[in-house]
């Protein structure tokens, strides 16, 4: 039981912010917790922090393992205080929500099983994740937007590819 909890804490990583979010300090001051981004999200990706998140209560989070961000950019248009800066849908490469990192010790591809789940689902296709030797996925930090789709589709549990939030 205790070990389970400790494992959970060890694997805990900060949830993602929606695309276009400003710096975390500025974000907490700008965000008025109005939930317009949550309500406009067509994929139900965004959910709100509750009281256990302390001063971050009511701010929008994306838990990639639950539902990742599909980069439709609707939330950035509705923010009334520019806590989320507007980004056009065609400019989704400019988003920087986080950075994906592959754990090569557990990744199926690195362990001899053919798996291209993250590579094939990546919205920045063949740029953010490429296959080395047609086999091993590699993340390119300069192209990765941190949407969390790779983490969502990873067949391993816990996922072998994890998106680290840029707003931790």
């Amino acid at each position: 039981m205790l070990l389970e909890w400790l494992n959970k804490i060890a694997q805990y990583h900060a949830p993602l912010r929606p695309p276009g979010a400003v710096d975390e300090d500025e974000f907490l001051r700008k965000c008025i917790r109005c939930r317009r981004c949550e309500e406009v999200c067509p994929y139900d990706s965004i959910i709100m922090a509750h009281g256990e998140h302390g001063q971050k209560v009511g701010t929008p989070f994306i838990y990639a393992r639950r539902i990742p961000c599909y980069l439709c950019m609707k939330c950035t248009e509705v923010c009334p205080t520019q806590a989320l800066l507007p980004i056009k849908k065609e400019e989704k490469e400019k988003v920087k929500m986080g950075l994906a990192k592959i754990d090569t010790t557990t990744c199926l591809a690195y362990n001899g099983i053919i798996c291209r789940a993250c590579y094939e689902r990546c919205p920045i296709y063949r740029e953010a994740i490429t296959l080395e030797n047609e086999m091993y996925p590699v993340v390119h930090p300069e192209h990765c937007v941190g949407c969390g789709i790779c983490e969502n589709v990873c067949p391993n549990d816990p996922p072998s590819i994890i998106v680290k939030s840029a707003h931790a």
Binding site: K30, I32, C34, R35, R36, V57, V78, P80
Partner: protein, 304 residues
């Protein structure tokens, strides 16, 4: 005495029920909006912190000022969004609180329940209006806390926003956060100790709206000539006021939120002395009351 049109009289006679209908319509509204969003209809999005109806942006003016103070930067669309509620407050006063706020609706029912459960505590019907500086002291300390801590304190203390966002969570994700316990704690305090203290003294949302109260804002006006309660040893207007004010005096502001319960009670008892007015009556409202609290004991509500 001011003559009242028949429409006005009809309005005053049904004021309580018109207001209750509005309040419940707002409650239905905050349930329907997230429900529609879940169905994929995004025409109306938001909560009482900020809401977008079609392309019309609305924002709580208190949060507008909070954002300006915290970011020290003026974002023009936010000012525009905050100005519509400000115009409403300039014309009609703090009607958001009394006619729309879901917390006030809960608080009024808690107050009514308190009157049933502890009838003895409610015998004093003649109210005293508190001096306005208490009100501004509370708002000032909240703003100071906001500036010192750099935290969006008004957001945390905005009860209408908190309730509507928790309702949105309930409808969208079938969960409720622990922050709803703040509402329950406040309602329990109101039930056992201080009825309606939050709306009367502490709420920063209402306080910012009251900042825009000026001499042509709609106010409750008392005209002693139409008063029918003076000989009856009971003042129905005082008994009806949910905030415990004495609406016969002019110094009910900044506390009064124009709910009109006193006007409704007055007209129910065939009186005509209380009404809404956009002008401040120049004459001093000194009421020749044939009553002495010390001699006659506390008022009892008349059974007319």
């Amino acid at each position: 005495m001011k003559t009242m049109s028949s429409f006005e009289q009809k309005f005053y006679r049904n004021l309580h029920w018109i207001r209750r209908l509005t309040q419940w319509a707002v409650v239905v509204f905050i349930f329907v909006v997230p429900f529609l969003n879940r169905q994929g209809i995004h025409a109306i999005i938001g909560t009482f912190y900020s809401i977008r109806i079609g392309h019309l942006d609305l924002m709580d003016p208190a949060l507008m000022f909070q954002t300006i103070l915290l970011t020290q930067n003026i974002y023009f669309p936010a000012i525009l969004a905050g100005s519509i509620p400000i115009i409403l407050a300039l014309v009609f006063g703090r009607v958001f609180c009394s006619w729309m706020c879901p917390y006030n609706l809960l608080s009024e029912y808690v107050g009514a329940l308190r009157k049933r459960v502890f009838p003895k505590k409610q015998t004093r019907i003649l109210n005293h209006n508190p001096r306005p500086h208490w009100y501004w002291t509370v708002l000032g300390s909240i703003v100071t806390l906001l500036m010192v801590s750099g935290l969006p304190v008004i957001t945390y203390l905005s009860m209408p926003g908190l309730i509507s966002s928790q309702v949105a969570d309930l409808v969208l994700h079938a969960t409720i956060g622990v922050e709803i316990s703040l509402v329950i704690i406040l309602l329990l305090i109101e039930f056992f100790f201080a009825p309606h203290f939050w709306c009367k003294y502490a709420c920063p949302v209402g306080a910012v709206l009251t900042l825009f109260h000026y001499k042509h804002t709609m106010r409750v006006q008392f005209d002693p000539k139409g008063c029918t309660c003076q000989d009856l040893k009971a003042l129905s207007c005082n008994a009806a006021c949910p905030l415990g004010l004495d609406p016969r005096h002019r110094d009910i502001y900044p506390y009064c939120y124009n709910c009109g319960e006193c006007i409704y009670a007055c007209h129910k008892h065939q009186g005509k002395s209380l009404s809404f007015s956009f002008q401040t009556n120049k004459q001093k409202n000194i009421i020749p009351l044939k009553f002495n609290e010390k001699q006659d004991g506390p008022f009892k509500e008349a059974n007319l």
